[in-house]
Amino acid sequence: MGVNSIFNVATTGINMARVAIEVTGENIANVNTDGYSRQTVMFKTGPTITSNGFPLGTGVQLAQVRRNHDELLQLQLVNGNSAGGESSVKENALSQVEPFFNELTTEGLGQSLQDFFGSWKDLSTNAAGTAERQVVLSRSESLVDTFHRLSSNLNDSIESADRSLDGITRSITDFATSIASLNEQILQTERLGGNANELRDQRDNAVFQLAEKVGVGYSEQSDGTLTVTLPGGEILVEGNKYGTLTTQDDPATGLNDIIFTSSTGVVSDVTATIGNGQGEIGGTLQVRDEIVPGYLAQLDEMAKQLVTAVNTQHVAGYGLDGSTGTAFFTGATSSTISINSALTVEKIAAAAKDPTSLLSGPGDNGNALKLAGLQSTSLTFTVGATATTTTVSSYYNSLVSKVGVDARNAETTMLQNESFMKQLNTLRESHSGVSLDEELTNLIKFQKAYSASARMITTASEMLDTVLAMVR
């Protein structure tokens, strides 16, 4: 054991302090990088040698650069993000649908219905009045227009949900591609004994973002690669191979089907299962296939029952010109309802008896009264297996209330998810996040260590000088 070994020990110290400062630098540089896990340098002592019968160390060695990472927390974050993706898509869609039904601040279908029946009541006080008849026609037109507007608004919502599936499937495929290539890089790096901390961070982050789109399952294999599965069990990523998701127009519904092509080229329709695991795709499919079509079905049923009830009564009455059997509306859904083109001001059937006959006259308002009375008549509305018996206005009000409940639930769920994700993120930050104060402290610590090791070399050099001077 000589002076030379002091040089060796001091050199390991300098080297390791430099590595530690490099890692600290990496941490500081990535303080704001999404998904970055803080890294810690772990040292170990070098092998000991025996000198003069005593064991002496040979300096410091790098044990590992550890990535501060919690696998369980990561799993919770991934699952939470799936639920969050679903709820935020739903909240977004419903907050766009809700204004169509906001009868509180705008005049929508509810007001049009009131106006429609009100015009019949007005007509009943002056059955022969041309002005009153004209008002019945124009109120009916505005009622029909409101039905059409609502129906096309709802259809627009369905279509916009359908179109967004295109982008979602594309980004799922993008994430699958990058996870597969990260798998490959991690495999290569770690096979060579390298450190793949940053690559793993990137992969975790990719899975996290993928989960927002679709609720995936994942598991790490013994070789360090990650296998990702879709909710229906299809393998999206395995090793460096990945499947692709695309949309395909379904001619039967006019909407998109979700098509999965596996890495081996097997094509399957996963529309029915892909939404099970939540995610944006799950939320979007619910909006497209259940929520908005549900409202549309109720609206259609409402239009249908209104058309039937008004027509049945109108056909029984007589117009000013003695015509009878004239239908008031045509069509049977919210998009097809319209005023019978044969209907004129004269043909509006306000009279219960023929006004051109000897026994009756144009002042007969019997049928107008009955038509006005339909406002308070209970009709039976059947959507699917649910039958409701109530007045038209009341049925519409309950639809408004239902939209409100749905929008509120979606908002509450989204807020809950947000606060849940915030807590998880806080935990993750606490565990994996970079603390500048900590890194700066480390920086001072390692800088001092570096200086001290350097001083060791100076000292050893002086020692050597002393020895050499002895010889001179």
Binding site: V31, N32, L94, E98, P99, F101, E103, L104, T105, G110, Q114, G118, K121, D122, S124, T125, N126, A127, A128, A351, K353, P355, L359, S360, G361, P362, G363, D364, N365, L369, A372, G373, Q375, S376, S393, S394, N397, V400, S401, K402, V403, G404, V405, D406, R408, E418, S419, K422, T426, E429, S430, H431, G433, V434, S435, L436, D437, E438, L440, T441
Partner: protein, 296 residues
């Protein structure tokens, strides 16, 4: 627990966002004056509010119906007053010559007055409201009476108006029950009686004059029956109007109780939240300035 600047930033962002959301809500309430601005604010109350508003609007409609019915019935009342006057005058005139008169000028004078009165009576019976004949049932475009015959040209239909939910009131009196005695008011054919009286006076037949005068006597209660029928209908309309108006006031009270913002409360809340939000802002700004770097 380690606390990192990322955590602090996330927390601050989340809380500031929340603060802003609450401020936005309160601000909206104060600005709109409404507690519930969209169905999702309170779906159940929304439904109640909509039902109440429907009821309110229905009430408005009934009030407008009542106003129209009122006009019609008041016109009818005026016409009936005129009819009563005419019949009374005829009755007086008949009283002056119950036993006939040998003076042909007196008779001719009476006849011409009666003929004039009958014309007036027919005119009264043909009273119009706008372009509608009041007394011709549903044949509102046909004059119910004419000077050439004593027939009724209208129909016997009642014109009914809805004055409250499932409460219907007729607004017309048909001419036949008024002047021809076919209804419940009485059984005197007033028009025919006038003609009978005129021809009796022309023939100077005291028995027939007395007979006709007696019929005229009987026609007076017939007309007052009609007048009191109209009055009772007007009464009913008035009652319905009062009831609907008081309902309206109650409903408006409920709506404003549930929907109107208590401005004092809302303004206080807004101020409180604003202060809290400002505090949060300043705390955020201060905390994020702290760093070990400043001391190195």
């Amino acid at each position: 627990m380690r606390v990192t600047p990322g955590m602090t930033a996330n927390n601050a962002m989340y809380n500031l966002q929340k603060g802003r959301t609450i401020l936005g809500r309160l601000q909206e309430q104060v600005a709109s004056g409404m507690v519930i601005n969209r169905p999702s604010d309170d779906p159940i109350t929304t439904r109640q509010l909509l039902e109440l508003e429907n009821k309110l609007e229905e009430g408005e409609q009934y009030l407008s119906n009542i106003t129209k019915a009122n006009l019609w019935l008041k016109m009818t009342n005026t016409a009936l007053g005129g009819v009563a006057d005419v019949v009374n005058q005829a009755r007086k005139l008949a009283g002056t010559i119950t036993s006939g008169s040998s003076d042909s000028t007196v008779r001719e004078n009476a006849v011409s007055q009666l003929t004039e009165l009958k014309k007036q009576l027919v005119d009264m019976g043909n009273t119009q409201f706008g372009d509608q004949y009041l007394f011709s049932g549903s044949k509102t475009d046909t004059p119910p009476f004419s000077n050439t015959d004593n027939l009724y040209h209208g129909s016997g239909d009642a014109i009914a108006v809805e004055i409250d939910r499932s409460s219907i009131s007729a607004i017309n009196i048909t001419g036949d029950s008024l002047l021809m005695g076919t209804g419940s008011y009485g059984s005197v054919h007033v028009l025919q009686t006038f003609d009978d009286l005129i021809s009796a006076i022309q023939a100077n037949n005291p028995a027939n004059i007395r007979d006709a005068a007696l019929k005229l006597d009987n026609s007076i209660p017939q007309i007052s029956n009609a007048i009191s029928d109209v009055s009772s209908r007007l009464n009913r309309l008035e009652n319905a109007k009062t009831m609907i108006s008081s309902d309206k006031a109650t409903i408006q009270g409920i709506i404003s109780d549930t929907q109107s913002v208590d401005m004092i409360e809302a303004a206080t809340k807004l101020t409180l939240r604003q202060t809290a939000f400002e505090a949060a802002l300043s705390a955020t700004a201060k905390i994020s300035q702290l760093s070990l770097l400043d001391y190195m």
